[in-house]
């Protein structure tokens, strides 16, 4: 099912992210399910769809399309993430045709983290097209033609998502790009992780007339070290000292419990301003059902 259908029905759309494994998924008897499949199982009952990252942080892993198709086969609704980092316009269009052919209904179009941030630092970065152009191209495929105007034997039918970073300064420049994405074909947005309600509110107010649903994005802070690491190394995200201190104040064993509480508080406060929430639990998918349960009635 396309996420756009859920938004159209007025559903508060809940999604959670899994990262494909660094390895192959062909199973032998006795293999335990891969981590991404286990994480998906943890959130099966409480999310509408599962984002599948595309070689996230430029670290080489199982491809997003293969993992999305595998999850689809297990009854999940995947959101196939597609970045512009590793493929040129021919490969991206071909993969969009492939995704639709293999039963994928949702695609999230992103620029992609830069190659040098990952584990193959010497790789050639492609960036043949950007995320705005990718959205326009994907919309064209939905309308029955490739980016050169050549007719397709059959159109794709993909819901097109995009991302926006409410933390970006100057915000007006980020929103200028968001408007270009909407004009190009973006039908829904997921945000970068936000920990400051005022930051999210500012973006919501400025995007009121944009007419697209937005999901509030949150990365679960698992430890004070992770919070500090994100502040120092992950651009575009600011984890407030308050959260880092709270995570420092509990014992290692209690961190997951505290992270669940902090995530719940943030989602309770921020998500009502949005049309959905997108969790990025980074391995702690098991806390997502608790958070979703706790926010019932508030969103």
């Amino acid at each position: 099912m396309k996420l756009t259908e859920l938004f159209d029905k007025g559903e508060f759309v809940i999604t959670s992210e899994v990262g494909p494994v660094k390895g192959c998924l062909r199973s032998s008897n006795g293999d335990e399910p891969p981590r991404c499949a286990r994480e998906a199982e943890m959130v099966r009952e409480c999310v509408h769809a599962i984002n599948v990252t595309d070689n996230q942080s430029a670290v080489m892993r199982l491809g997003s399309l293969a993992a999305s198709v595998k999850l689809r086969g297990k009854g999940f609704e995947p959101i196939y993430q597609m970045t512009c980092r590793d493929r040129n316009r021919i490969a991206l269009q071909s993969d969009l045709l492939g995704a639709c052919s293999l039963g994928i209904d949702n695609v999230l179009c992103l620029t992609g983290d830069y190659t040098s941030l990952g584990d193959h630092k010497a790789a050639k970065s492609v960036f043949d097209i950007d995320s705005v152009q990718l959205l326009k191209i994907a919309k064209g495929l939905n309308e029955g033609h490739d980016m050169m105007g050549n007719t397709l034997t059959k159109s794709t039918d993909l819901a097109l998502g995009a991302v926006v970073n409410p933390n970006f300064e100057p915000l007006d420049l980020q929103l200028l790009k968001m408007e270009k994405k909407i004009e190009a074909g973006a039908q829904f947005f997921q945000t970068q992780a936000v920990y400051d309600p005022a930051v999210f509110e500012k973006m919501v107010k400025k995007t009121e007339g944009f007419g697209v649903p937005i999901q509030y994005g949150i990365v679960v802070i698992k430890s004070p070290q992770m919070g500090r690491f994100m502040n120092e190394n992950v651009s575009g995200i600011t984890v407030p000292d308050r959260i880092i201190e709270e995570m420092s104040s509990v014992s290692k064993e209690d961190r997951k419990k505290r992270a669940t509480e902090i995530t719940t508080e943030l989602v309770r406060e921020i998500a009502p301003m949005a049309q959905g929430v997108h969790f990025m639990p980074l391995g702690w998918s098991d806390i997502v059902p608790t958070v979703v349960d706790a926010i019932k009635g508030t969103v």
Partner: protein, 225 residues
Amino acid sequence: MIGTIPKPFEEIMDAVAGYEKLAVIGCDGCAKVCMTGGSDQVEEMAEKLRNQGKNVVLAVTPDRTCYVSKTRTALDPHMDELKQAEAVVILGCGGAAQITRKVTEDYELTIPVKIGLDSVGHMDTLVMGELALEQCQECGECILNETGGICPVTKCAKSLLNGPCGGAQNGKCEVDSERDCAWILIYNRMTALGESDKLRRFMDAKDYSKMAKPRTLNIKERRVA
């Protein structure tokens, strides 16, 4: 100019292993500005090679080693020495090395031409003798008119044409926290010019066929093929 940096000396020694008589040829153009291949560096390289037991039979620095005519002008008077050389070491860009190879072929000399520098891009000098910056990729369809005179193809790590990615922090690029985000520079410049609304225009995917290598410039016809 074409930016250059020296290769490690050991790598140069590997490249000339087995050749005793060497010619060292620099370039008084870009490599001089980069302080990698001007006449001073050519002399230094000749000295270092001699210290390693090499016989440097010629050390010369053409005005512009990427011009066939200027290279010939510099080498013509030294034909006797060049004929003795078993190999040539170029302290210039990749273009200088290949022009020199062509010139040696024109002289009917079949000798290896080795390069002592790595070429690192089309650079513009910000501080003479200290700092140069890459600003242009020679993409074949300049968009500076649309971007406030700041090139996102070169100055944005991802060559984005429709605005910034979400990765900038404190105005700096996610790839290098010392480097300004090109799109914030563009936005600030266009805002100062009162033209930020022009950034709303959708920029189509670039025509990379205009960068398809190797390009040939027909100067008389003002045409690239």
